[in-house]
Amino acid sequence: MANSPVVETKALTKRYGEFTALDSLSISVDAGHILGFIGPNGAGKTTTIRILVGLLRPTEGSATIAGADCVTQARKIKRLVGYMPDMFGSYDNMRVTEYLDFFGAAYGIGRRDRVKRVAEVLETTGAGYMKDLYVESLSHGMKQRIGIARTLLHDPQVLILDEPANGLDPQARIDMRELLLHLAEIGKTLIVTSHILPELSRICDTVAIITHGKLRAFGTQAEIMRQITQRRTFEVQLVERAQLEAANAIVMTSLGAGAEANVSTSETEGLVRFDSNLSDRELAGILASLLDKGVSVAQFREIPTDLEDAFLSVTSRDNETSTTERPAPAASSPEPV
């Protein structure tokens, strides 16, 4: 698959009077990739999405999808993008096939092709059994599937899904994850927003973390983790709890016992926990010191960080910044985490 960016935003900004909803956002998504768009409520995710699909105009900056400008080529964008908002948009007294048939007709798909296409998208989304059901009687999970089927009707290149896993039960979430991976497999480029970060971490190639309208981290999951894990968390599990104080003192001394060391002990668990940006070699030195001083170490392990940690790390840092000073606008690239 060619790794050319299909979705690209450059210094995208949206202001409502004094309030800046989106501040100089620059991201790009390659063809066939899934971008996880993460941020707390009111961070600017939906604003970005609505600009991308042509429902909002940016105050500054530009956004393109497959080379088409989201502002000046709105009609082209409608053909290129399949958009599923967080609100389903159901119509009463309509069966699923009628509902999809209507949107197919709205996209100008001919009657014969439409019948075929509706059957295809229902099969793709695993919703074939719902075809005769009334739309308003569907459960939330079923509606989400039909929503995705609707976005696929005109065979768009890019799918933009706003909170597709929101409110789904565990099984429906697994189904949704498989469906999104399947869509990426068949060549669709996906932008997915979600609050359920473990879900996103399993499917996304690229992640963008946004808070207060500003992009805080952007890249592949591995890149983001590297940025986040500049300070990693380690645990030393002791065999004997009586050695807890000694072990704590050795770790403190090895780390320099500065204010940034953030060393803690857990008496019940019998372990010492600390954050560090030391290299693996230096960490090996700490372990050697512990053993030399007769501390019986059962395990010396790194606590793995995941997308949730990355998100929390970024947002907590952002919260600290915003309580002291609002971040300066016009940053065209993500700030170092």
Binding site: Y83, P85, G89, N93, T97, E98, D101, A106, R111, S137
Partner: protein
């Protein structure tokens, strides 16, 4: 206020800016009515005729306000709570069903009282003009209005427990209020003077209407009886019927306020095509056009939005349209049959007038329910965003939406044509009048559709849009008739003619030479006015759709 629901309900209504606007508009309207007839010359009116004239208009305006403004609030009361999920919380709380109901009713009634209070300064001014009795006229009028408020509020609350959406609640409530309050008087006027069970039922029906009582109070008791004064006042019967019906509505509503409100199975989506031959045949016979058959795709020549509108509306489905059309056809033929067989001695012109009024009532009642939510329902459900994402232009969307309403209302109007055909058969000389009346009716349909669409597009919530549409249209269609009722006193011939020109009803009635309308020259003036208003409303609708279709 020990009942927390009263507080929440009343404060909730008062926090609504539209409710405040309504209070202000009502108080201004009442003041204007009195101001219009306030004596400016040096003559003293010892007979009290002038104040009686003002009192009539004042009483009818107040009654219209009570009938068409107040029930809108309780109508959405339970269904709004149910859809938001707060009704389940209330029912799950230690509050009993009757406490919840009492809270809702009292909250609504307090607002209604506030609304009636806005008329007191105008009433005082009217009283100061002299000639009106404080107890037997003013006192009774307010008592009747309060009783009416109670009756229709309880009815609206009952309806609110049956429907599934807020706009359906508003539609059903207005239809019920109209049927009980105004249409109920119709059968008596047709059957009066006869003996038997049917005329007796008709008498009780009209006795249950506040319109009859208010007409008696203002000295218009002879209007419906065609110059024959009513035998006696129906006041006592009205109070009795109101009390009994209110009590019945209260008991029914309270009995419905339990878990069963939420106990509704999801539709299985049964399809006739998958059923056995016998069932298929029966449904074919019963429905003619079976709503549960699999639909073929939208054809290339049809506007998809129009088809979607037909399919998503309960009354838009063809089997319902057929029923509605058949009902209208039968009704119009019955009216003509009544005229020809001499059941009533009214003559073709009076029956023609009735038919015109019937058609206008149909148009005014049905059109807002179809047209007011054209845009607001989409915005409320999130469908508007999806429509904007399709390559369809706003013009195509507007066209589809308007066509869906015009087709429906047009079909219903067409169904009444057989009545006119019979009329021409009886009096062939009337063909030109019938032809001109048809133009008026078509114009009335266009006028109503455009105004309902324009007003409805201004709101984001369907219930608000529907209520506003009804209020605007009822104002436009009812106020000229109210002014006509005060023809020559207090309103001059010119004033009545000008008022009747703001919609095509007066023109249609004057063409058909309905009694009391034959003296007015309304064509082509009324056609021009209606045309200009329709065009302006259409432009406003188009402008609003264009505005909300553009990227913000």
């Amino acid at each position: 206020m020990n009942n927390p629901v009263i507080h929440r309900e009343f404060v909730g209504i008062l926090r609504n800016r539209k409710a405040i606007a309504m209070l202000i508009v009502m108080s201004i309207a009442f003041s204007l009515i009195v101001l219009l007839r306030w004596p400016t010359d040096g003559q003293v009116d010892l007979s009290g005729m002038r104040s009686q004239q003002v009192f009539r208009v004042f009483a009818y305006t107040l009654l219209a306000g009570v009938l068409f403004v107040i029930p809108a609030f309780p109508a959405v009361s339970f269904i709004q709570e149910k859809n938001k999920g707060t009704l389940a919380l209330l029912l799950n709380s230690p509050l009993s069903s009757s406490t919840i109901f009492a809270g809702k009713l009292t909250g609504g009634l307090l607002f209604a009282v506030l609304l009636l209070l806005t008329s007191l300064p105008a009433a005082a001014a009217c009283y100061a003009m002299g000639g009106i009795d404080l107890y037997s006229q003013f006192g009774l009028l307010y008592l009747v209005l309060l009783t009416c408020t109670m009756q229709y509020s309880t009815l609206a609350l009952l309806i609110s427990t049956y429907v599934q959406s807020t706009d359906a609640a508003v539609r059903m409530t207005y239809a019920a209020v109209f049927a009980f309050g105004i249409l109920g008087t119709g059968p008596y006027y047709l059957l009066q003077g006869q003996a038997g069970t049917l005329p007796l039922i008709a008498w009780w029906l009209q006795a249950a209407s506040p319109l009859t009582v208010v007409m008696d109070l203002v000295g218009h008791g002879d209007v419906g009886s065609l110059a024959l004064m009513s035998e006696h006042s129906t006041l006592a019967e009205y109070f009795l019927l109101s009390a009994v019906s209110s009590l019945a509505f209260v008991m029914l509503t309270v009995s419905r306020l339990n878990h069963r409100l939420f106990d509704r199975a999801r539709s299985k989506g049964t399809i006739t095509d998958d059923r056995q031959v016998l069932a298929r045949g029966f449904r074919r016979l019963f429905f003619l056009v079976d709503p549960q058959r699999r639909k073929s795709g939208i054809p290339f020549y049809a506007n998809p939005v129009m088809v979607k509108e037909f399919r998503t509306r309960k009354f838009g489905r063809i089997h319902w349209l057929l029923r509605l059309v058949a009902g209208c056809a039968v009704l119009s033929l019955l009216l003509t049959f009544a005229a020809t067989t001499g059941v009533v001695d009214w003559g073709v012109k009076t029956i023609g007038g009735f038919m015109v009024l019937l058609q206008i009532v149909l148009v005014v009642l049905i059109t807002p329910s179809l047209a007011s939510g054209l845009i607001s329902a989409e915005r409320e459900s999130g469908g508007w965003e999806l429509l904007r994402m399709t390559p369809m232009s706003p013009l195509k969307i507007v066209r589809g939406k308007l066509l869906s309403v015009i087709w429906t209302v047009g079909l219903i109007l067409l169904a009444t044509v057989p009545g006119y055909v019979v009329m021409i058969y009886i009096q062939p000389a009337m063909w030109l009048q019938v032809y001109l009346v048809m133009i008026c009716l078509v114009l009335a349909t266009v006028y109503t559709v455009c105004i309902a669409a324009a007003v409805g597009s201004l709101f984001q919530r369907t219930a608000t849009a529907t209520t506003s549409c009804y209020i605007v249209l009822i104002l436009l269609f009812l106020s000229p008739l109210l002014i006509w009722m005060g023809r020559d006193a207090p309103f001059s011939h010119k004033a009545v003619e000008a008022a009747l020109s703001i919609n095509p009803t007066g023109a249609a009635l004057s063409i058909i030479e309905a009694p009391g309308f034959e003296i007015y020259e309304l064509v082509p003036g009324a056609w021009w006015v209606s045309g200009i208003i329709s065009f302006a409303a259409l432009l406003a609708f188009g402008g609003q759709v264009w505005r909300i279709s553009r990227p913000a």
